[in-house]
Amino acid sequence: MTKQTGFQTARARYAAVFAVLLAAFAALIVWNINTGSVRIPVREIARILFTGAGDDTQVGIVWKLRMPRILAAAVLGGGLALSGFLMQTFFGNPIAGPFVLGISSGSKLCVALVMIVALRYFSFVSSWMLVLAAFAGALTAMAFVLLAARAIRQMSMLLVAGIMISYICSAVTEFLIAFAKDSDIVNLHSWSQGSFSGTKWSHVGVFSAIVLICLVLVFFMSKPIGAFQMGESYAQSMGVNVRRFRVALIFLSSLLAGCVTAFAGPISFVGIAVPHLIRLLLKTEKPILVIPASFLGGGVFCLFCDYIARTAFAPTDMPISTVTALFGAPVVIVMMIRRHRARL
């Protein structure tokens, strides 16, 4: 009997968490369209979104400026949270994530390189080139992290190695930006700080395709991920080909992290804070629930943070990482303290 009620309360909790996330997601989208230097009433938004008719300036603002940016925050935020979740699974460490491990910075370096070279010699950069560069950068940084992890089997050292890689890549990126043409510097600079501004519809198509395909793949990997969370040996005894699975984890997490960096630059703390908060809310680690919830949660978190980045000092945009760090870092600190206490 207790078993039955146990199941029921858990189910009710899961349903509630998803309902709240979806509601927040919808509300934040409307709110983000609504506010800015031009306020657009909610009724107008509905009309513009669903019929496409309305005041020309307002339609332009909604469709050309705000919607791509909102979709970038929603989809890339979700991708980032997912990438963080995969890295945490891979390293068995809740503090792992694309930003702290230097994966984002590796992508940033490669993207900056490609942008500068391509703009100087071809004066044209395609989205796919950027994604490819970002993916290559992410994989390279990941390779270094894995080498460090193999040499020093200690979780804290892994993070130190990641942070060092991150500093080196950022430093090199700054050098590169110094060599860029003046006209590109403004754009490059705001991108290298992390921002959703300036997203174009052509970008939206590319990153949505990549992130959503990854989301589906990851979701269908939730069974082996669940096995892997119990430890490699146990996963193997349950029939998981651990070697192949690890490669899949690395590729998917790097692709997600790279894709986000290519379009929005490095964004801090989303990858760590969101999956952790989601686990706290759901009170479970089951991937089949945590994966979709983290994706939604990442979107919600980034929509919220972008709203603040956009409006706090309007008309100037703040780098998105400033805001995500403000909300994400305390979560990480609290998590570390709680874990430490739990171990005592």
Binding site: K223, Q229, M230, S233, Q236, M238, G239, N241, T284, E285
Partner: protein, 376 residues
Amino acid sequence: MNDAYFRTEGLTVGYNGKPLIRDIALGLRAGEILTLIGPNGSGKSTILKSITKHLSAIRGDAFIAGASVNAMNYKELSKKLAVVLTERLRGELLTCWDVVATGRYPYTNTLGILDAEDRKKVFAAMERVHAADLADKNFSAVSDGQRQRILLARAICQEPEILVLDEPTSFLDIRHKLELLGILRSMAKEKGITVILSLHEIDLAQKISDKILCVSGETISHFGTPDEIFREEIINPLYGIEKGSFNLTFGSVELPRPEGEPKVFVISGCGSGVRLFRRLQKAGLPFYAGILYENDIDLQVAAPLAARVITETPFLSIRDETYEAARSLMKQCEAVVCAGVPIGESNRRLGDLIREAGALGLLKEENALFHRQEAR
């Protein structure tokens, strides 16, 4: 070995391509229990890990019902073989039910959702190990004994044909040890599951196993039934027992006998001496014992602990030479203690020995021995 359900052929195991133990050949029938014994670091875990494919074998192969383990993929293997590892099971926020349910992994659909049949099997496995009441408990919060039972339930609901357990009784108290091994025994006999495990408690190994594998160093020193293996000439060198002793009949252990010139002679019989022998050992007082019939239970403890024991063939009256041997040892002593012994027709002369000790003024109360020692 052709009727063997599980067998290994020329299996050589080790780490990083370096062979540790070579050419392991063993065969088990379905439903048999094999226990690996041997000192710490002898390679028991290495062998188990190679059987479960957590380590790739350097040479040779294992076969389950004739099918090569090397050739099997992990998924196929997971339906035949389940494990209980020493490695801590990671994963947070898992209830015991969740942990057991992971045993159904090889049988569930792509997303790993349990159906009604799976749930029934998970529940049955928990009942099997008497842990159904733990279902909602957080796995990280249960005791060592409960944890092992949950891990065993997890392995059981994987419905394996072979169950491999690496030191499943470590950290368990005696009650939980017996409970766990009892479950394994009935799994093997009722369901025909072949069990391969490693144990530190050789006394338990002797009682639970159908086959024993002695692991020490380069090669397997012995493989056989407990009757063949549990002999002094095999067990003592295997563990390098020099101090203390292991009683092969009862599986009990005794600490090393006290050294020095014995000052005490103990007369006992029918179990009355066991407690006193051990008390003398603890106090470090060397002693002689006698006259004990060779079938007397006291002899099992006196033999490893006393400096010398005077014995007599069972059912005979005490002979003159035996009596004389005892009397001369007794006279070398400062004290004679009688732990109490029933005197009858055949051991009538033991009564004489006690009277003679009394006449010599040697007969002492047991506590007097230890008072003197404490005063010193």
